[in-house]
């Protein structure tokens, strides 16, 4: 059996893969129907245990164990919510977009099951605003079709279970991908992250117990329960079970989204993506979205693509968005672009991040303009260090890590540019 595209992406090449008919033909909604008709066996505890056994971790970037997150929800009669984070915007990442476009019913079913597991009768799917015309109509049609088929709503299929699901459209703000920023946005406010604790499980949407999961995480749930936790876990390694959709972009011949077993070698992934563009030599890879630390070729080439290996290499699996960089790329210019992004997207709430990201960008800008000073590299590292760990949310850390890692691994390129009035060493 192939090890590629076996879970959420198994049928996305079928024509009309996004329709209810096609999803039903592939066995879709069978788990949801089983739960509805046999609640004494398929209890919420059973669902959470299976998800725990599958080893599924949050695919939004942080990798928190999903079953464990679900188990934090209080067991009271309070109104609870399940919220899906479809605000995909971590630079390099574009696989949730394909789920929304080509397999939206897997997300609908996953959210319904998650709602059952945590006792939520209402779900919201927060879709990024820019997906307005492309993905949103697909997921909205999927929800409507599920309602029409009696699979959502009040007393679903006479089970006594209620589950209402609504799609929400954002309006362009990277910070809303942070789960509490997302909840603020869903409440109609500026997407400024909240202090934690309290965590959303205790104080979430409208102050009610809420679980926020990523699109890929939730869309994986139906297959895990249909085919068994072991079936899913066995794709990956003991410590990183299951699969992950890798978005491979940048300097490769066949950029694309590939659903692959965790623990796969870096070499195999690069081969799948057709090798480095134009036959050039690999220079570096940002392995999990722009917020993860860059790894030079000689390090990543010895890595396997899973949580542990990349952590041991002092980076992270993140969202599995691998940005491949070939020889000849100026790392100073690339870092400047990353820092411009964090500067523009900082929500402005915490001073170290609001001011610090501006400092980082402006220092890098003057280096590339030939006005860098010998002391600038130390200053960059100092400013990054003062942002890291000093902000309400992880955005601050995400703005600091690229700076620290680029300077650590490509110190000579930065030095050369400062000494040579903005001339790049990379050309």
């Amino acid at each position: 059996m192939s090890r590629y595209n076996q879970v959420i992406y198994a049928n996305i090449n079928e024509s009309n893969s996004w329709t209810l008919d096609e999803y039903l033909k592939q066995g879709g909604y069978s788990v949801w129907k089983q739960i509805l008709s046999d609640q004494s066996n398929k209890t919420s505890e059973w669902v959470i245990e299976e998800v725990k056994k599958s080893g599924l971790r949050g695919r939004g970037g942080a990798g928190f164990p999903t079953g464990l997150k679900w188990s934090f929800m209080p067991k009271n009669d309070d109104q609870k919510y399940i919220v899906c984070n479809s605000d995909e915007s971590e630079p390099g990442t574009c696989h949730d977009r394909d789920i929304l476009k080509y397999n939206p019913h897997a997300l609908v079913e996953g959210m319904a099951i998650a709602g059952y597991a945590i006792g939520a009768t209402v779900g919201y799917n927060y879709v990024r605003g820019e997906f307005m015309l492309e993905c949103y109509p697909r997921i909205d049609a999927a929800v409507k079709d599920a309602y029409d088929a009696g699979l959502l709503g009040v007393n679903v299929l006479d089970s006594g279970i209620d589950f209402d699901l609504y799609n929400f459209l954002g309006a362009g703000a990277y910070i809303c991908g942070e789960e509490t920023g997302l909840l603020e946005s869903l409440e109609g406010k500026q997407g400024k992250p909240r202090f934690k604790p309290p965590f959303p499980a205790n104080y979430g949407l409208y102050g009610k117990p809420t679980t926020v999961n990523n699109t890929q995480t939730l869309a994986t749930i139906p297959k895990i329960l249909e085919k068994g936790a072991k079936w899913y876990a066995d794709f990956g390694t003991e410590k990183s079970p299951g699969t992950l959709i890798f978005s491979i972009s940048g300097h490769v011949n066949k950029p694309g989204n590939y659903e692959l077993p965790l623990g796969i070698s870096f070499e195999e992934v690069i081969d799948l993506a057709g090798g480095v563009l134009d036959g050039k030599k690999l220079k570096a890879v940002i392995p999990g979205g722009s917020s993860t630390k860059v790894l030079p070729a000689e390090i990543i080439q010895n890595c396997t693509m899973d949580y542990e290996s990349l952590q041991d290499a002092d980076s992270a699996l993140g969202t599995g968005a691998m940005v491949v960089i070939s020889e000849g790329t100026c790392m100073v210019e690339l870092l400047k672009r990353i820092s411009r992004f964090y500067y523009a997207e900082s929500c402005g709430q915490c001073t170290p991040c609001r001011e610090g990201t501006g400092w980082l960008y402006r220092i890098l800008d003057r280096i590339t303009n030939g006005q860098g000073k010998a002391s600038d590299l130390a200053l960059l590292v100092d400013v990054a260090g003062r942002i890291e760990g000093n902000t309400i949310c992880a955005f601050g850390d995400a703005s600091a890590w690229p700076v620290q890692s680029f300077i650590k691994h490509y110190h000579h390129e930065f030095e050369y540019m400062i000494q040579n009035k903005g001339k790049t060493l990379a050309a």
Partner: protein
């Protein structure tokens, strides 16, 4: 009923309102502003924002806060067609900067500006648009166009300028 908002916009706002619990109509601000902006061909005015606030019954300031925080809302007059060229890392590595320079040169404007005839708005786009595997890409009136080259870009601009 509102005199500022069209029947179509009101219908859209009602649709958003129906998704949230009673008393939580603030959640409908973002969706309502999308509708109001669409009605006004791409940007919001104080009059429109005030009408949204009045219709959904929230303080005006809550609407202004949202309109000025999110990058998809424009609070000053911009061109009718909106172009966003992604220049984030994956697109940058695949030549987005050349695409952007070409468009700026051809339109005779800098990124962030609109053409003097009010036809095209070249939005300053900082966020990655999540189409990295199709880089370089741009969004034209919310439609994603991937794997761009100069020729494709020129064809799109011809169309927007009514030349084809």
């Amino acid at each position: 009923m509102s005199e500022v908002l069209t029947t179509e916009t009101i219908k859209e706002i009602d649709h958003w309102l129906s998704k949230f619990p009673v008393g939580k109509q603030r959640s409908a601000i973002i969706g309502s502003l999308h509708a109001a902006q669409h009605q006004n061909h791409g940007f919001l005015t104080s009059e429109l924002m005030d009408a949204v606030a009045a219709y959904i019954d929230v303080p005006k300031i809550q609407v202004y806060e949202v309109a000025t925080f999110y990058s998809m809302f424009q609070t000053k007059n911009v061109g009718k067609h909106e172009i966003s060229i992604c220049t984030n890392i994956s697109c940058m590595l695949r030549g987005s900067d050349e695409i952007l320079s070409h468009v700026e040169k051809r339109l005779g404007i800098d990124v962030g500006e609109s053409t003097s005839d009010g036809n095209i708005f070249l939005k300053q786009e900082e966020e990655c648009l999540a189409a990295c595997t199709g880089a370089p890409m741009m969004m034209v009136d919310h439609v994603y166009i991937e794997n761009l080259d100069i020729k494709t870009v020129d064809e799109i601009l011809d169309r927007l300028e009514g030349k084809s």
